[in-house]
């Protein structure tokens, strides 16, 4: 049974939560503490699996409570439940909290969030991943991308936004962190921040600059960047470019194109995540994929080894971070051709095809289920044109 600690100096809030959560007594053991100092003591015993804390409290604030939780049990899920989160405290907050939920938060929403975060882990690998995810401050950032984004932030105001978007479309690590930060400012996954443009505007260039220069977006040291990692990053960037190119040639609406790009970038976070967590395993898995490309897809191989596909792993991280729910759902199923919407070519369809095209090895065709999907869409005849786009994008990029 998962153990949740609630901290709020307003006892009425705690009693309200206690009453609505009583019905979930068989899943969770909840403790409600009105005095933050006492809460720190309980956290010190390593008791809670999750801490949900108010932000503004006398003497000890929510950041301090969650910081203690992070220090004593990095794998503990940490949430802020508050009526207000100023951008002033955003960086220290992001260093300790996974997500922020605004008051008032309806009971069923809170339950949904907690259920997702505390889902009992069946397989050993998956449980380990969850543990890793909760301890993760941010994904490794490629130094080139970090420089690109820094430069973009310094661009003239008229072209800044476009340049920032462009730089972010090649960096899953920084994109997901920015969506997490924007969600915190907006207070909660109930609203979330669905578009990257909205997130950029919500945070503003100064906050973004501070964020990417914080520990959560530290560029990876050059010595740790081997060929596999270069390849992972290159393929991710290529998939994004292909998604954008397909959206352009298919004359999609701007918001469809933007979401297709966002989904592709975000799903790239999963590959980076699995590689960062189990680097050697991931390298050998990729080698296996080279030889077995015809029989098994990469997501299948990932599931075999790690219990989750990279896209699913990414989705877990994003749920923990409170990133816009519907977007995360689409990321989770991105690799699964059977789960793509039919009828018209939508953002996730474009992202799926783009990723499949980039993964395609020379001499092999598109994976059968992706091909089936295109048949269902009635867009098989577009495939040769898209393959050309993918070829253009797969030119090795000078690093």
């Amino acid at each position: 049974m998962k153990r949740i600690l609630f901290v709020d100096d307003d006892l009425a809030v705690l009693r309200g939560l206690e009453r609505v959560l009583r019905a979930y007594g068989d899943q969770w053991k909840c403790v409600f503490i009105g005095n933050p100092a006492e809460a720190l003591d309980l956290i010190g015993t390593g008791w809670p699996d999750a801490v949900v804390s108010d932000m503004r409290m006398p003497r000890i604030d929510g950041i301090e409570v969650l910081a203690k939780a992070r220090a004593d049990r990095p794998d503990c899920a940490r949430l802020i439940l508050s009526g207000e989160v100023g951008t002033g405290a955003l960086l220290p907050l992001l260093a300790v909290a996974h997500q922020c939920i605004g008051k008032p938060c309806k009971a069923d929403l809170l339950v949904r969030i907690l259920t997702r975060l505390l889902i009992s882990d069946d397989s050993g690998t998956s449980a380990k991943l969850n543990e890793k995810l909760r301890g993760l401050l941010g994904l490794p950032v490629m130094p080139t991308r970090h420089r690109e984004l820094s430069e973009a932030l310094n661009a003239a105001p008229v072209e800044r936004e476009a340049k920032v978007l462009q730089a972010l479309s090649r960096s899953p690590a920084m994109t997901s962190k920015i969506l997490q930060a924007a969600g915190c400012v907006r207070l909660g996954s109930a609203q979330g921040v669905a578009s990257l443009t909205d997130a950029i505007r919500l945070l503003g260039p100064e906050t973004i600059a501070a964020l990417i220069n914080s520990d959560s977006c530290r560029p990876m040291s050059e010595v740790d960047i081997d060929l596999t990692r270069r390849r992972i990053w290159r393929e991710g960037a290529a998939a994004t470019a292909v998604a954008r190119a397909i959206a352009t040639v298919e004359q999609c609406a701007p918001e469809v194109a933007a979401q297709a790009v966002l989904l592709t970038v975000l799903s790239g976070a999963g590959t980076i995540l699995l590689d960062a967590t189990w680097h050697e395993d991931y390298v050998s898995m990729l080698a296996e994929a080279e030889t077995e490309a015809r029989d098994r897809t990469v997501p299948e191989l990932e599931r075999d080894r790690f219990g989750v596909s990279s896209a699913e792993a990414a989705a877990r991280l994003f749920r923990l971070w409170g990133i816009h729910d519907p977007t995360v759902d689409l990321v989770a199923t991105l690799d699964d051709a059977g789960k793509q919407t039919t009828g018209t070519l939508g953002p996730s369809g474009i992202a799926h095809i783009a990723k499949a095209l980039v993964r395609m090895r020379p001499g092999t065709g598109l994976q059968p289920d992706s091909l089936d999907y295109l048949v269902r869409l009635g867009l098989v005849d577009r495939l040769p044109a898209w393959e050309k786009l993918a070829e253009l994008q797969s030119e090795p990029e000078p690093c």
């Binding site: 009583r22 439940l81 008032p104 009971a107 069923d108 443009t197």
Partner: protein
């Protein structure tokens, strides 16, 4: 020939007679500087009858002032080595026998004789000297007077020029300034003024610069007239140093203007009664508007801060009210099952002996709790309470977003969201008079603007539209529509109402500050003026189309990317 008398020794008498025929007066002196002979001319000049013999010392013939000079000349001449001819003349004052004097020009020479003799020739130059002096005096007078005249003329010209310049300057100033100039002849009840005076007050000035004071005070709006009159009275009585007074005047064209009167009484009669007062008037409407805007901005900022704080404070109770209601909801749902069971059992056991004993109490208790009604109504009540809570949450959220708008700087703003918040927050203004419909373009580009100004703009347009519908007073609910569209680099927001419309005759004035069609005290006349000012600051446009009895559509267009084009200084207030 008879020898010369002693004094004229060495000088033949014939020579002496000859001397009488000469036109010049000549006196002969011996070596002792005594005059031994005077010729006829000399005798005439010196008024002597005799030709002088025995010798007479020369100083007899010389005025005391010239004696030293004469002596020096005669001595020099006597002692000279050669016989010099008189080369130079000198002026001496000679003395007549009657002791009168005259100015004479004299030349002295030595005669070549065994005994030194001097001959001094002289003539009366008084007349010449006089005329000379007169001439000199005349000349100098003339010169002086010319100078005087010239300087006088120059002075006059300078004065005239200065006068002309200052006059023209003054008139230039008076004609070119925005201020109105007034010069009030208090006793004769006439006000002189420059053209701006009448213009500022919106007066027809058929008499040119002459106005009647009553015509002026009649323009001051009723609410301000007593104050104005009091200020004027105090100053005329000398109770105030200066007249400085602000008041509103109603112009002939119906516009309202804030005017500042400044002036002073500049002359009084012996009893201290004001005779004349002058001063300026200034149209300070713009300043007043800016003041009001600034005050409003400050007020909005203060309210914003307050509202954000209040919203935060409300959110906490909203949290536990919601939780408690949710708890009650789930508990009642379960309790309802239990009640149902009790009801079922009751029908089954109603015949049993035990029920006959205990059932009465249970039924009474159930009746007292109105249980059958409560069973249906409690869940309904909770559901409605939760709905209400939802609405409160939305309002608080809107208020928070609307007020949590930070400093007066431009940021990217989602106008669709702002429109939705505006609709939520202005509900009280329109809910009884209109239905509201929004047609917002999905994915509307964000607009760089000052959020609280744009929020205020939207509120003003919506409230105005609601008031236009209310003014129909036909008891029917109108329709208020808000549309947002992206149009060529701009975002257009149209606020339409099915209200009374704007009469054509006031269409050109609705954006004027202080112009209002509402009764005094109900409208500040600032709403649309502020709206226009906001739109201008954002380099946008505002326009409207109106049809009497059908309604009005206000269209605001704001450039999407105002970055770098906006004049940031006008935002720093």
């Amino acid at each position: 020939m008879k020898p010369m008398t002693a004094p004229c020794a060495g000088m033949p008498t014939a020579c002496l007679d000859t001397l009488d025929g000469l036109p010049d007066a000549i006196m002969v002196l011996n070596h002792t500087e005594a005059v031994t002979h005077l010729n006829r001319q000399a005798r005439m000049l010196l008024c002597r009858d005799d030709a002088v013999a025995p010798p007479v010392p020369i100083w007899h013939f010389v005025a005391p002032a010239s004696r030293a000079e004469i002596r020096e000349i005669t001595r020099n001449t006597l002692s000279a080595a050669e016989c010099p001819y008189p080369e130079t003349t000198f002026e001496v004052t000679l003395r007549r026998s009657d002791a009168s004097t005259f100015l004479a020009e004299m030349a002295v020479g030595r005669l070549p004789a065994p005994q030194a003799l001097l001959a001094a020739s002289f003539r009366d130059i008084t007349a010449r000297k006089d005329s000379e002096a007169r001439m000199v005096r005349l000349l100098s007078d003339a010169h002086e007077s010319r100078q005087r005249v010239e300087s006088l003329a120059a002075e006059t010209i300078a004065q005239a020029e200065a006068l002309a310049a200052s006059e023209s300057r003054l008139s230039m100033v008076l004609h070119s300034v925005r201020d109105g100039y007034w010069d009030w002849d208090v006793r004769n009840k006439v006000v002189h003024s420059n053209p701006q005076f009448a213009e500022i007050l919106g007066l027809d000035a058929p008499n040119g610069p002459l106005l009647s004071p009553d015509a002026i005070t009649a323009l001051v709006i009723d609410a301000d007239r007593a104050d104005m009159a009091a200020a004027l009275r105090r100053h005329l009585r000398g109770q105030t140093q200066n007249l400085i007074h602000e008041c509103r005047v109603s112009r002939k064209d119906g516009t309202l203007a804030w005017i500042e009167f400044r002036g002073q009484v500049i002359s009084r009669d012996s009893r201290g009664r004001a005779l004349r007062a002058t001063g300026l008037i200034t149209d300070i409407s713009e300043k007043k508007q800016l003041d009001q805007e600034r005050r409003r901005t400050m007020k909005m900022e203060a309210i914003g801060e307050l509202a954000a704080g209040v919203a935060h404070e409300i959110n906490t109770p909203l949290q536990f009210v919601g939780d408690n209601l949710a708890f009650l909801q789930s508990q009642t749902a379960r309790a309802t099952k239990a009640f149902q069971l009790v009801a079922d059992i009751r029908t089954q056991v109603s015949a049993s002996p035990l029920w006959r004993v205990l059932g009465g109490d249970l039924l009474a208790a159930a009746d007292e709790a109105d249980l059958s009604y409560a069973r249906n109504e409690i869940p309904e009540a909770i559901r409605e309470a939760l709905d209400g809570l939802d609405r409160v949450s939305k309002i608080v959220q809107a208020l928070k977003e609307f007020s949590h708008q930070g400093p007066s700087e431009r940021v990217a703003v989602d106008l669709n969201r702002m429109i939705e918040n505006t609709v939520t927050l202005t509900r009280n203004e329109w809910k009884y008079v209109a239905e509201i419909e929004t047609d917002l373009e999905p994915g509307l580009p964000h607009v760089h603007c000052v959020p609280h100004e744009c929020g205020q703009l939207l509120v003003n347009l919506v409230v105005n539209a609601a008031h236009a519908i209310r003014a129909m007073a036909d008891g029917k609910k109108g329709l208020l529509t808000i549309v947002s569209r992206a149009v060529a680099g701009q975002v257009e927001i149209r606020v339409s109402d099915t209200g009374c419309g704007i009469p054509p005759e006031i269409r050109n004035r609705i954006f004027d500050p202080f112009f209002t069609t509402k009764p005094i005290g109900q409208g500040t006349g600032q709403g649309l003026a502020l709206a226009q000012a906001t739109v201008k600051r954002h380099r946008g446009t505002i326009s409207f189309q109106s049809e009497i009895g059908r309604g009005t559509v206000f269209s605001v267009r704001l450039p999407i990317d105002a970055i770098g084009t906006g004049d940031e200084t006008d935002l720093v207030r």
